[in-house]
Symmetry: C2
């Protein structure tokens, strides 16, 4: 059993700023989307993953892993997305429990419109605040905080 020490002042500062900046980013993103009459960020996250996955789609449990949303949250979010016609649920052949989720044309379109709005927030709150070099530095260091660490 190894003792875990309390965080250094430097670590605390990183944590505090990480919390504050991410909260801002979320808040302003949600606000911008709402002002444009678009769905909340959580929908974007899922549509984004599904769009990247392409025609093959993804299983709900894969979405759970990638987005870090809880299982029951994904389950209900997908129900709402399906009700809105943004995704389709397909039976999967080799596993009777499972299903595959595929983004629909309407889903892609919604995602595109959300990105147009949300991307602007990112530019304002992130892109315009730091140089390209600084952005690379931050993302490299944040990559090492990720679980699992990003290796680029």
């Amino acid at each position: 059993m190894t003792k875990t020490a309390m965080p250094s002042p430097e670590a605390i500062k990183v944590w505090a700023r990480l919390m504050r900046v991410s909260r801002q980013l979320i808040e302003q993103g949600e606000e911008a989307l709402k002002d444009s009459g678009l769905p909340p960020l959580a929908w974007y996250d899922v549509l984004h993953e599904l769009a990247e996955a392409g025609e093959g789609g993804l299983r709900p449990f894969q979405l759970t892993e990638r987005t870090l949303f809880a299982q029951y949250n994904i389950s209900r979010l997908l129900a709402r997305l399906e009700a809105d016609g943004l995704v389709e649920k397909l039976k999967v052949a080799d596993d009777g429990r499972g299903q595959t989720i595929r983004i629909s044309a309407k889903g892609r379109e919604t995602r595109r419109r959300m990105w147009a709005v949300y991307g602007r927030s990112i530019t304002e709150l992130v892109g315009h605040k730091l140089s390209a070099d600084e952005l690379s530095t931050v993302s490299a260091l944040l990559g090492r905080l990720r679980l699992p660490p990003a290796m680029d």
Copy 2:
């Protein structure tokens, strides 16, 4: 009217990692607190601000500003904290609408115990992953993403 361009790939990467890392940090913090039978992170944030404010306490609207929680959220959170005896609501002399919130001894003790648990998560997820220099670099750059920017 100035056009806002879409974010560069570097900005997107920073945003994506920021979101992921902060989500992890929150999730693991919440989990650690729950496992120890302690209240959720939101309580910590408020107790922390109140502890820093000292005997003078803070007005609810000041908490709203500092924590970035919505006004109605603070209102109800304070009701729960008061019900648990962690804070006291005091009438404020010069403004009949307002109140001052002051942390109680029990509140300080709860905060202390939460920090013992939460701090460990921060050490594991942040402190142990980067050197002191790297931590300083990240916090300086994140400071510039803050609104308003931190000036240190």
